[in-house]
Symmetry: C2
DNA sequence: CAACTGTACTATGTAACATAGTACATATCA
DNA sequence: TGATATGTACTATGTTACATAGTACAGTTG
């Protein structure tokens, strides 16, 4: 995942790491690259990485041990739940807007079904 | 709908007007308030309104006749379709993300059903 | 002509963002 | 102990977007 887009770089990094925690790409107590290392990898300024880490710590996604490094929080479930709530909220908002646009309930349900590729429900 | 939030004021105005066209609050050939009038109503700078109108014209949502005023485009269906496509795209993205977060298909479908308030499908 | 449209400038100020550079306290390890 | 790595905290600089104020001008309408 590259760092590019409209959002501030440090926020893109925040989003990416939160997403990696939510999707188990990053697990509890995993160590993250140092600010300088991450800066080299992503070709951005160490200060920008530090800003992202600071924000992630504020959100209790990672914890910091000066001299040791930064690590993923012990309880990732909290991050996952917040992430899911956010996604469900966005889903709800999209449905509301579609209804206001004159799209029918049936059309929405049909679209969601099609997203799963057919009629069969496995999960 | 008030002008406040994180997004730039002129973009908030753009979004609002596009939404009003998509939801038939504004209809084809309706005249919009003049830049100065809208500025007074919303308590923002006329230049900011002008910037919004310019962007809306670029997106072909409104058309401008210098000396006469600004009017909603003749074919609002185009705006509606673009709006719906955008919303469907967002919906799809939310579902994808939820699946990546370990949420099951059943849970998502159940959530969507609950959005409609129960088991009965009217529309 | 008078009053209204949208448009186009200049100028000013603010705020966020990103960068470079430096410094410092802490932790780890040879 | 000394070297090196960690996160953190500054200052300074530059860029960009945004919003405002003010002025001016061309076209339209009555």
């Amino acid at each position: 995942m590259a760092i590019s887009g409209k959002k501030p770089i440090y926020l893109q990094l925040v989003d990416r790491i939160k997403n990696e925690v939510a999707t188990d790409i990053l697990s509890a107590n995993d160590q993250l690259p140092s600010v300088r290392e991450m800066a080299l990898q992503e070709r951005i300024n160490p200060n920008t990485v530090a800003k992202a880490y600071k924000e992630l710590e504020r959100q209790e996604v990672i914890k910091t041990l000066t001299g040791k490094g930064t690590f993923v929080t012990g309880n990732t479930q909290n991050v996952k739940n917040l992430n899911q709530n956010q996604l469900f909220s966005e889903l709800s908002s999209s449905v509301d807007q579609l209804l206001k646009n004159g799209v029918t309930r049936k059309q929405i349900e049909q679209f969601v079904d099609d997203l799963f590729g057919g009629k069969n429900a496995k999960n």
